[in-house]
Amino acid sequence: MTTTTRNVVSLGALIALATMFTAACSTDGPAPTENAGPAAGSVTITNGWAKAAEDGMSAVFGELTNSTSSDVIISSATTDAADMIELHETVENESGDMVMREIEGGFVIPASDTLALEPGADHIMLMGLTQPITAGEEVSITLTFSDDSTLEFSAPVKDYAGANESYADIDHDMDHSDHEDTDSGEK
């Protein structure tokens, strides 16, 4: 019942202790445990998917579940599928429009809770796709937590008409209204 994930402790000093284990698989979610290990080991991602796009921008969604009794913070993400990747939130701007922007301090997954990444809310933003991502393929994403542990997962690509929010604090060469068919200029 879960996306296949890989957890790797990537700090150089901890390489000797690096562990690979498959994320827990449960609909009910594992019982809270003490946060003894790396943050990546306490988080599972389910129902992950990415929006198909010819070029320019895309986004990745899914449900991140924290099985521990402490909050966990995702501070960044990486992918080979795009030149740039950011963790975005959706907020209301001065004129009352909902816009998305990079979230300060990363995604917080509360203790024993699930953070939903979904269109119109928090999501992982891909900018400057290196090639088209097409329905039925997968995009590989690596999340980095505040303790530098990492979680890699593959998000299957689906056609999706939504997730067309406008942007705040544009510092890239992007079209504001219709980014789906717009070259981001990142290539």
Partner: protein, 413 residues
């Protein structure tokens, strides 16, 4: 710079990535959904048994040797959609499309939202949803697969008056459930995901009695009022297995589907009295029993007809030109499994009804089983006076798949 060629970071989703819907199945899932309903409605735990009896909680397992929606006791509603492949869809694209569609079907059939489901609240009532995929000749050709000899348009029958709007198709999706909202949501989800690969060729919607209106297993009635399908082979028997499932190649565990849209002229049928109606088929309208048996009691429906019996005037009780007499073959292998639905659509012109039968049959070999039968009916069948085939399509139905596979994987991998 844009890069060319296939890249490893866009890896093939070969594993459970797309295929995670089936972890629960069968009775356990039905119970789980029932409990879920109770929790969501805020009802106390003591009300759980009542929630568990909701027919919307019923779940049909998705994964298995055969696709669901064939041997499955027919649901109340079915929508059949035939899609045409876009010109640029090759074998690789077919594989990607079937990965996505399989994942949708697996999740939705278990009462779970699909990935990227924009109406997830519509997904929580599975109502025995099944999604069954079939491949037309062009699909198999694009997949560079070996097509069975019967995968081609049926021979032209004299009684046919085919409307191109209901003929052919590259990919069949049969969506069936006991709840029409569930069917509509599944259709919408699947069509959204098929859209970049296909266009819609035709859509046909059918219905039977609602779930719970009559006992499960009751033979359906068509809109002529006839009991329709009494002689069907019974799922779960060796007779059924032999008649329905293919044994060889990528179709092992699969079957074939014949989809025929049969217009039923209710206005002309109205002119026929009850005795004439019964003689046209050779069965009583009351209980579906052969005219050589009893019109009373439910059990007589399954009595064997006596084609030798004659009236006092010396005529056969079951006329030689009746549908039942003509449909029957002395060769017991020339039989099919019927899983039909009624339709009742908007009439045109002066007609007040546009009704008929969405004839769906499954058989291991169309040429060996369906064609001889239909050829006999084409030559002579009293029912032909009131029925006209207006649509026709043939599909290869691939086998079911495992949780780490997808529908069509025996053809596409």
């Amino acid at each position: 710079m844009p890069r060319t060629g296939k890249d490893s970071r866009l890896s093939r989703p070969s594993r459970r990535q797309f295929l995670v819907g089936g972890a629960i199945a069968g009775v356990g899932a039905a119970a789980a959904v029932g409990i879920d309903f109770a929790l969501k409605s805020g009802a106390p735990a003591t009300d759980a048994p009542a929630a568990a009896t909701l027919s919307g909680a019923g779940v049909v397992p998705f994964y298995g040797e055969h696709q669901a929606g064939i041997a499955t006791d027919a649901q109340a509603h079915a929508t059949l959609i035939a899609l045409d492949l876009r010109d640029d869809v090759d074998r690789e694209a077919l594989r990607r499309m079937m990965l996505v569609l399989t994942d949708d079907a697996a999740r939705l059939s278990q009462g779970e939202k699909a990935l990227a489901d924009s109406e997830p609240e519509l997904a929580v009532v599975p109502a025995r949803l099944t999604v069954t995929f079939g491949f037309g000749p062009r699909f198999v050709s694009r997949a560079r697969g070996e097509a069975p000899s019967w995968l081609r348009p049926l021979p032209e029958f004299g009684i046919d008056d085919l409307d191109p709007a209901f003929v052919g198709g590259d990919l069949l999706i049969q969506i069936a459930a006991d709840d029409l909202v569930t069917v509509a949501h599944a259709a919408r989800m699947l069509l959204k995901d098929a859209r970049s690969f296909t266009t819609v060729r035709w859509t046909q919607r059918g219905f039977r009695r609602s779930r719970g209106s009559v006992a499960q297993g009751t033979t359906m009635r068509n809109l002529f009022g006839q009991v329709d399908g009494t002689a069907n082979p019974v799922p779960g028997t060796s007779d059924f297995d032999r008649l329905v499932w293919c044994a060889q190649g990528w179709l092992a565990g699969g079957t074939s589907a014949v989809i025929r849209r049969i217009d039923m002229d209710l206005d002309e049928w109205d002119r026929l009295d009850r005795i004439g109606r019964e003689q046209s088929v050779g069965r009583y309208l009351s209980n579906g029993a052969p005219l050589t048996s009893s019109p009373h009691g439910p059990d007589a429906e399954f009595d064997e007809p006596d084609f030798e019996a004659t009236t006092r005037a010396g005529f056969p009780v079951i006329a030689e030109f009746s549908h039942m007499a003509r449909a029957r073959s002395s060769d017991s292998s020339e039989r099919i499994f019927r899983r039909a639905y009624n339709y009742d659509d908007q009439p045109d012109g002066d007609r007040v009804s546009n009704s008929g039968l969405l004839f769906i049959s499954f058989q291991a070999d169309i040429d060996a089983q369906f064609v001889p039968l239909q050829s006999r009916l084409d030559q002579l069948d009293l029912l032909n006076e009131w029925t006209t085939p207006v649509g026709s399509a043939v599909f290869a139905i691939p086998p079911g798949c495992r949780e780490d596979g997808f529908i069509g994987d025996t053809l596409l991998t």
